[in-house]
Symmetry: C2
Subunit: 168 residues, 2 copies
DNA sequence: TCCAAACCCTTGGATGTCCTAGTATATTGC
DNA sequence: GCAATATACTAGGACATCCAAGGGTTTGGA
């Protein structure tokens, strides 16, 4: 992403939609496209911050989730549900975190089908350090105004509930 | 995704952040996480709609971009800049679209370094059909209220400009 | 003129996501 | 108690994204 474009490509796409007679959906198209692009930008920032720790966002999310669990351990299926990703994605992340010595797999005490993911002390320490940098470098400099943050949380929260993410 | 979770995992994460003394960045953390999740949901809907056409979102975006170019052709580097993805991603998408007979590569008339991507008539027709379904099935049923759509476009537009996406 | 720097595209490698089985373990129902 | 169904995890494959490197083409300054 070298030089900024002279024009906003999403605004241009919206104009194209309107010119082709799709005015009724041009605005939501622009909003959705903007969400996709914003996610891409934010993910880039996050991954850049995590790279020195040898972490990706997917692995960090799992580490952070475990660090908030009282016991520091969670069943794989629970992690999959909470992170809202496919079970195979969790398998993938655990494989790599385990190779790095940040988590270990252990059998569930009563259910032979289930595998527990457990944070090692290294894993806990790394999660803490990575979170500190993420907080200061990304979340603390999001570029969103306080009011806009509230709006985003409200709008996207409603969307996610309607999409069936949660019922609360 | 199976059953909705009983609680909003992002709201829970925000509470965890506050409990750990990171209240100052808890809200932006929640907003950013919500953007990531919303993107995931929307991408899932879009890919589901495009699948019957043999398209992915990345390929559709390229097809749509070409269909709006007067000549139906664009240099690869221009497409990369407008779609805001890495050049190798465009190479990948063009490879597959070309295999499907939807675009062809042609040499640039004056610059030997540049390759033009050109829409075939099949490609143009498919883009049209896919856009129609995307408009009715996704953009027309986004789940965002009209006011919220405007808010998203404003908030994310400001963010993208500040992030250096465009200067206009 | 000529060569170094800049630019364009592709190849190869690493990650992540999802989907479709396939294997192992639990639970249910008869 | 045993068979049928459901659940949990993993293996393999398809795609997409990025980065690093390499080979060809242009451009621009010495």
């Amino acid at each position: 992403m070298g030089t900024p474009l002279p024009r906003d490509p999403i605004a241009d796409a919206r104009l194209n939609w309107e010119r082709h007679g799709w005015s009724d959906v041009a605005a939501p198209m622009a909003a959705i496209t903007a969400i996709m692009r914003t996610q891409q930008i934010l993910l880039g920032r996050i991954e850049a911050v995590l790279k020195p720790f040898g972490l990706t966002f997917a692995r960090y999310e799992l580490l952070a989730l475990l660090s908030f669990a009282r016991s520091g351990a969670l069943p794989m299926n629970k992690a999959s549900a909470l992170l809202q990703v496919h079970p195979t994605s969790v398998t993938n992340a655990v494989d790599r975190l385990q190779d790095a010595g940040l988590v270990i797999r252990s059998p569930h005490p009563t259910d032979g089908r289930t595998t527990l993911i457990e944070l090692t002390s290294d894993g806990r320490a790394l999660a803490k350090r990575a979170t500190a940098v993420l907080n200061s470098e990304v979340f603390g400099q999001s570029g969103f105004g306080d009011q806009d943050v509230d709006q985003l949380i409200r709008i996207l929260g409603t969307f996610r509930r309607n999409a069936g993410d949660f019922s609360g």
